[in-house]
């Protein structure tokens, strides 16, 4: 299947917040930060089920994350959401356009289902 281009937003969630208190080297934090939320209809179209893995690729790097569906009215088609963490960092460029701030929201990424 051809990779599909989507917009990735990285941000905070309460689960990411609570799990980092448990420990950043623990499974819970790893799991939370390597889960990607996707519009449910997009998932159907790409033949993805809850928990299936996708490869996200940007010009900088790539990472693999498990899918979690969101209702179309909550997350528009073509948009992805991920909690901050080492996996989302793999996709971010180091350039900050002179501001100090790298872009972590609205990253253009290619999404490819990873066959199990």
């Amino acid at each position: 299947m051809l990779p599909e281009t989507m917009l990735l937003i990285a941000g905070r969630t309460s689960k990411q917040g609570t799990s980092l208190n448990v420990g950043k080297l623990k499974d819970e934090y790893r799991e939370v930060t390597s889960t990607v939320e996707m519009n449910a209809l997009d998932m159907v179209r790409l033949g993805l089920k809850e928990g299936d893995k996708v490869r996200l690729r940007s010009p900088i790097g790539e990472t693999v994350a498990s899918c979690k569906s969101r209702k179309p009215e909550d997350l528009p088609a073509g948009m992805l959401f991920m909690a901050y963490g080492p996996p989302s960092g793999q996709l971010m460029a180091g350039d900050t356009a002179g501001t100090g701030m790298p872009i972590s929201k609205n990253l253009v990424v290619e999404v490819t289902p990873v066959s199990a």
Partner: protein, 448 residues
């Protein structure tokens, strides 16, 4: 749970920028645990009750166990011998520790930056361009009858921003709390914060600036092209209605998150929002406030600003502070491969920095101070275990609205505080510099 417990009243949670100071903690003194955190939100509960004194070495040098003193010696040697040492982090520690970190950077002529640069740094840059009409959180609680949350998800990132400060609470002129307020949420996705708002406006990603600029025009009575809807996904009449609400409220507040600063436009977005709040003061009273993240990131801004004149992205290489985001900010210094040593305090850049920055961090000697195991700690040459601020140490933190609060620790930690470790490093660095005749400012750089 043992019977040996105590209650710490009015303790402060330092997890997020809300810095709520109304925690009543039940502490099990035998188990060294907080068993209950009354008044805490979900994040605060995890912050307190998941906190355990892990059995970790006081320090690790090249992965080998060492004493704090040995760690201090190794750290001081690294810093004194580096040509371009950088200090980064500081948002999750006390102001007392931050002050020591600034002193070290000054002594070694190093670089100094905080997590502000990857948080509301762009809002700081915008502030320098347009200023800001702002207020303490209590003022919003007492007076705001219109609150607009923009590019943030407080329900998940700052739960008590809603319940304690800005949405639900009753105030002096808001006797009925939520009933007396109109709440608007603006975001690119419908987050768990949306149900709390009376109006949710969903815009297309990366169009915050256009929407804010259109609102500025509408507030000033200028015409806006209806094509705005196609561009931004928001109907012109929705914007016109919001502009009208903002002009006619009694006291309005715009609370904005990193949805503005971490996306296309960055400081332009924050600047547009700050300018909108300023414009509205021609009609009514209006304030704006960046919703700050980590517990004491606002303290870091304050300490660094009063010490140097600048909030972040600072270099002391010439014997005095210079400020230049993009040049002296950490993501840039690392991604360009310039830093040759790093002192990382209470933050975990290896866990959330862009890949090129993390790659360079792995190539240079890194000193880490952290109470817990972290991704950065794993690549450190010297890693100190320190006590957790607010739980095991006292000190000062600043809430997101610049209100300073003194911490009430719950129980003691066997580990030293960040302040103690940094003070020891500072003293050792000073000795080493005096021995090498580098105590003064670089002679060639002295200014007339």
């Amino acid at each position: 749970m043992s019977a040996n417990t105590k209650i710490v009243e009015n303790a402060t949670c330092t997890f997020c920028g809300c810095v709520c100071d109304d925690m009543n903690l039940t502490v099990d003194l035998d188990e060294h645990r907080i068993t209950k955190a009354q008044n805490a939100c979900v994040l605060g509960r995890a912050w307190f009750t998941e906190h355990v004194l892990e059995k970790r070495p006081y320090a690790l040098i090249d992965g080998k166990e060492a004493s704090t003193e040995e760690g201090v010696e190794a750290a001081a040697q690294i810093l004194v011998n580096a040509k371009f040492p950088i200090t980064y982090g500081l948002s999750d520690t006390t102001c007392e520790a931050q002050r020591q970190a600034v002193a070290i950077s000054d002594l070694i002529g190093g670089n100094l930056d905080t997590t502000t640069s990857v948080c509301h740094g762009p809002s700081g840059i915008a502030f320098e361009g347009v200023g800001e009409s702002t207020a303490s959180l209590g003022e919003i609680k007492n007076r705001a009858d219109l609150v607009v949350f923009w590019g943030g998800n407080p329900a998940e990132s700052h739960p008590r921003l809603f319940t304690r400060y800005a949405l639900m609470p009753k105030g002096l002129h808001i006797p009925n709390g939520k009933k007396d307020r109109y709440a608007v949420l603006v975001d690119v996705r419908r987050t768990p914060s949306a149900p709390a708002a009376d109006l949710f406006i969903q815009l297309k990603p990366g169009t915050d600036f256009e929407v804010l600029w259109a609102l500025r025009a509408l507030v000033k009575g200028k015409r806006v092209d209806p094509g705005i809807e196609e561009k931004t996904g928001v109907k012109l009449e929705t914007l016109a209605d919001l502009a009208h609400r903002m002009k006619t409220c009694q006291f309005g507040a715009l609370l904005f998150g990193m949805g503005l600063t971490m996306t296309r436009g960055r400081h332009f977005n924050s600047g547009a929002l700050l300018a909108l709040a300023t414009d509205l003061n021609e009609f009514t009273h209006f304030v704006a406030k960046p919703v700050r993240g980590h517990g004491n990131v606002t303290g870091a801004d304050n300490v660094v600003s009063w010490s140097t004149g600048f909030p972040f992205g600072i270099n002391f290489g010439r014997g005095y502070p210079r400020f230049n985001p993009g040049e002296f900010t950490t993501v840039d210094l690392l991604s360009r491969g310039e830093a040759d040593a790093a002192l990382i305090i209470a933050s975990d850049p290896a866990a959330n920095f862009p890949k090129p920055a993390v790659e360079h961090l792995k190539r240079i000697p890194v000193i880490v101070l952290d109470p817990k195991a972290s991704v950065t700690g794993q690549i450190a040459k010297v890693a100190f275990t320190t006590a957790t601020y607010g739980i095991n140490t006292g000190g000062t933190v600043y809430r997101m609205d610049d209100v300073a609060i003194a911490l009430r620790p719950a129980f003691e930690s066997p580990y030293p505080s960040d302040e103690e470790v940094l003070t020891a490093i500072k003293n050792r660095v000073r000795e080493l510099l005096a021995g090498s005749g580098r105590a003064g400012a670089p002679a060639a750089q002295k200014v007339a």
